[in-house]
Symmetry: C2
Subunit: 342 residues, 2 copies
Amino acid sequence: MDKTDMTTTSEGGNGSDFCVPVYSSSEVLEKLRGNCNYGNKQPYPAMYSSIIGGITLDPALMVIPIDDHMVHRGHGVFDTAMLVDGYLYELDTHLDRFLRSASKAKIGSPFPRSTLRTILVQLAAASQCKKGSLRYWLSAGPGDFLLSPAGCPTPAFYAVVIDDDFSQCKEGVKVVTSTIPMKSPQFATMKNVNYLPNVLSIMEAEEKGASASIWIDDQGYIAEGPNVNVAFISQEKELLLPLFDKILSGCTAKRLLALAPKLVEQGILKSVKTCDITLEEAKNSAEMMYVGSGLPILPIITWDEQPVGDGKVGELTLALSNLLWEDMVAGPETQRLRVAYM
Amino acid sequence: MDKTDMTTTSEGGNGSDFCVPVYSSSEVLEKLRGNCNYGNKQPYPAMYSSIIGGITLDPALMVIPIDDHMVHRGHGVFDTAMLVDGYLYELDTHLDRFLRSASKAKIGSPFPRSTLRTILVQLAAASQCKKGSLRYWLSAGPGDFLLSPAGCPTPAFYAVVIDDDFSQCKEGVKVVTSTIPMKSPQFATMKNVNYLPNVLSIMEAEEKGASASIWIDDQGYIAEGPNVNVAFISQEKELLLPLFDKILSGCTAKRLLALAPKLVEQGILKSVKTCDITLEEAKNSAEMMYVGSGLPILPIITWDEQPVGDGKVGELTLALSNLLWEDMVAGPETQRLRVAYM
């Protein structure tokens, strides 16, 4: 490559003692391939991209154009679905929320819902993966690098299968109250890729030796974790979840609300409700947990260095965890879609 | 591909009457290439990616891994620099802000500042582009798809050259007050890719027949445009810009503040200052403009359907525009770095 005249800069140390290589297309591919030495186990066995109109099993080509507005403007939404023993769990619920998010973010779709769904199921089949998750995105698509998506002719759809041998979480974790500002309700209620506040919130928790964090809203009510909902068992054995008006409407949280009345019938829980929960009420709760599709329940035993309840994993938390886990692995066929692998 | 059993779903219309193709690696490349028929003029003549450790001139390979945390979590920051007649304008100022943004977003760099700078200058040279802009990103990098970047071993650096035959903006535009919630100061003051509020704000403006929008902060003071600063000329011929404590510290706005005192010396302007500007003060101003690196000044003649001042492009706005334009095309060598093309 050429040399560059750095003498006109006011800065010292021009660093021009090295040349940045310009690679041929085949060299670029070779370099991309060199970054994908996963050994026997490919963590992302398959990807779909509407840019290519099909599925690739080549990890080096699981890419997105740099000019896609999701990459450089965060103009994209996403959702997920767990893959449990060859079944997709609650795909339709997640797909409905996905399209609601896209609508709120003013993102179209290159295909109707039924096509998106078929692609996801066929992607799962092509991946041969029996346990893990599907993650998928709708984006304003590639175009110019301007702020407005007016120069993006076609929205894009991407999806990957993530191999993950997850299991029911039975160990309790530590959490802290987040000091990172929450997103406004308009943005917190749609699942878009603008997750920098969420990232900084979990990084803050990790720096404090905790697993994750809890957001409190500007009125002093409990909001959510950085990518999961939070639920409480009061001293009166009520299952309490925050209202979904300022936070993401969690698919697993909603499923929990649908299933938990079974424990009320059995006399194990007193009641199940969503309501405004003050920080004080929350801190006085007997049990506390995260709720999210990949967990499905994660017991919380320490919050801001103080024990939650007696500081042990709660019995009702485990009962709720069992209820959801059972639904995931052996629930009704309305919730679970069998993937027809080859 | 295989057929998929969709009979277990509660939904009708399973859409499984088509098969999603699984492409070989060479077919994927062919498809990517098919999307890049730009004819004679490639809009993005060159890209650097630390993933490949070099530059590519192949538009089909100007890509980013789907598992990069900038793509799916917005954990990335960016900045820009204009390329004017073969010179990079204010590269060092932008690079300083870039690294401040990265630090605030807790993103490291794969290289020291001097190396990033050398890469950018050599990328510009390799692109052969004389007029346009450089856009560059630091990202938490590829890793797992989890929220925390703990599984991302190395941050990534990407840069593209965008060919653009821009010229001085002399026509006035219409703007509207944005109804989209602003980002909190912590996030508005770092240039990260979480631009969905900005995107929705400019889309709202475009839907109303305007070019862009103006944010008012929660205290009723003028904030900024969706990706540019805003400035006013008062009836007393003062140049007024909002304080940078809750908004992005614009490099071009700061350069304007450094250059505008010349017009005070000449008796054309009365004074130059940054201060809190109420909506009422702003609406009573004589002239109004956007300030941003790609403009550098864009006169605003209509705001919320009302004329700004006399509704014509202001004389002082044009004088400031000329001042900045002159600095871009023929300013001192401390501001401009000559690219040594081959």
